[in-house]
Amino acid sequence: MGRIQVIFKRELASYFSTPIAAVFIVIFLMLSGAFTFYLGNYFARGQADLIPFFDFHPWLYLVLIPALAMRLWAEERRSGTIELLLTLPVTMWEAVLGKFLAAWCFTGVALAMTFPMWITVNLLGEPDNGVIFASYIGSLLMAGGFLSIGSCISALTKNQVIAFVVSVVICLGFILSGFPMVLDIFGWAPQFLLSAVSSFSFLAHFESISKGVLDLRDILYFFSLMAFWLFATVTVIDMKKAE
């Protein structure tokens, strides 16, 4: 068992020892159910698929994941345990990765608990289970993307409220980066930059995975996004340790 695993284990256990786990999972299940059936017109559509369910995931994550991520580093910094953790024989990468993976695994657990939805749709009709499986993978990857952003912002401040609000705004930017709302900000920019910005869109990549195509480019997109934000986390912690 390496040091990443030791941190991972402790972090994951800490979610379940506090009300965070219960609150997060219950809210996630309730909202994803409510959105699917009421806003998504699950029954009225008369189609055996989970599109209305997965369509709301980016928006659910937008609120829930920054709430989960805000404590990652802000709490360590506030309570002073960051000094304890980083003077143990552990590298910054191991600490950042251990904490991130625990949070990601936790969202994976929450996501896995929506399995009754999958069973229901199979009872009602004959869905394309390959598409649903791909959508789950896509959703998990997207959750990882949101979390890595939250991790970095959480490292910037002691204040969890600030970490939450700033993360939500940045995540919103990533969700909407293919839309005029974000693109208009970059109105001055040359065309290649505009298409670069719009290619950052979570929605576009998530939607293409949700169609059932596990394209390597989409998977690579999410992993490089995570790598980038985790690298930023390491840098931020290193810079702001003294405060």
């Binding site: 068992m1 304890l84 143990l88 024989p89 552990v90 003294a242």
Partner: protein, 320 residues
């Protein structure tokens, strides 16, 4: 004496503020170095650089031969560190037992070795009674002991303790000091404190830092000698004129100055300053007896450590 910690020209700046300004010293095995200094003098910053938490602006720290920056992991395995305020994880179910297990696992202990080192440490710092209580609910004294326990769990060669007795009651302070003294033989210990008496109680060496610089480095006894009133003799005699007593005492060998501390009824109170390095108490005592004076009180003042501290750490006083 084996050198365990070597610090060379250590400097740390935060923007325009110079927190630590060219500090150099080394600490050997068996030494307990007490860091003294006003708040904001750079004690904690220096300790944070020794433990590798902060990166120095310039200068090097070597722990057991390992550069803390370049060979961070090797150095960190040799250090035990109690950060200021003894932080610990306050998750609801985090108990001293689970906390120490986590620290042990991070330090690479597994299975039986892990269990043995945890139980040995728990015994050392007397944590048995609260082992399974949430850390959150423990008293300050116990929390501090948990902090100490995590620092000594892996039996490190170098121990860095940032204000280990701060905020504890006198009994708890005594316990922590006893523990530190018990470990002193085997390790190099660096601790910071605000309590000057603590230097006497546990340290073999005192270092005073002011404005990021070392202004004093020596034994606690040498530290005491810096006191302006050190080795002065206080005497109270009855039935003599102040002026006469003053004049006569001046004739005693080794006396430099006799100060009148004011009359209290029949009692004349004087403070007698010796010449540099002179031991005047026996002469004064004998002289008073020979004169046939009625001595009510006679003792040698060791000097106030607080005075030395102020003298060394405030620039105005140092000039006067």
């Amino acid at each position: 004496m084996t050198t365990m910690v070597e610090i060379e020209n250590l400097r740390k700046t935060f923007g325009p503020i110079v927190a630590v300004d060219g500090v150099s010293f080394s600490v050997g095995k068996g030494e307990v170095l007490g860091f003294l200094g006003p708040n904001g003098a750079g004690k904690s910053t220096t300790m944070k650089m020794i433990t590798g938490f902060l990166t120095p602006t310039s200068g090097t720290v070597r722990v057991c031969g390992h550069d803390v920056q370049k060979e961070a992991l090797a150095a960190k395995t040799r250090i035990g560190y109690l950060p200021e305020g003894a932080p610990a994880y306050h998750d609801m179910d985090m108990t001293p037992a689970s906390f120490l297990t986590f620290i042990g696992e991070m330090r690479g202990f597994r299975g039986d070795t892990l269990k043995r080192s945890v139980s040995k440490t728990v015994e050392k710092v007397n944590l048995e009674s609260v082992l399974d209580q949430p850390i959150e609910t423990l008293s300050k004294g116990f929390k501090r002991r948990v902090g100490l326990a995590q620092a000594i769990l892996h039996d490190p060669d170098v121990l860095v303790l940032d204000e280990p007795t701060d905020g504890l009651d006198p009994n708890q302070k005594h316990e922590v000091r006893t523990l530190i003294r018990a470990m002193a033989q085997e390790k190099a210990i660096i601790l910071s404190t605000h309590i000057l008496e603590e230097v006497h109680a546990v340290c073999s060496r005192a270092m005073i830092i002011a404005k990021g610089k070392v202004v004093f480095d020596g034994t606690p006894a040498e530290f005491e000698e810096q006191a302006p009133m050190h080795n002065t003799v206080l005497i109270t005699v009855r039935g003599v004129e102040t002026a006469i007593a003053q004049e006569r005492f001046m004739t005693v060998t080794g006396v430099n100055k006799v100060e009148d501390l004011g009359k209290d009824g029949e009692l004349v109170r004087l403070r007698i300053y010796p010449d540099e390095g002179q031991w005047t108490l026996p002469h004064i005592s004998q002289f008073a007896r020979e004169q046939g004076w009625d001595v009510q009180e006679l003792y040698q003042d060791r000097g106030q450590l607080d005075d030395v501290f102020r003298l060394l750490t405030t620039p105005q006083q140092a000039l006067s």
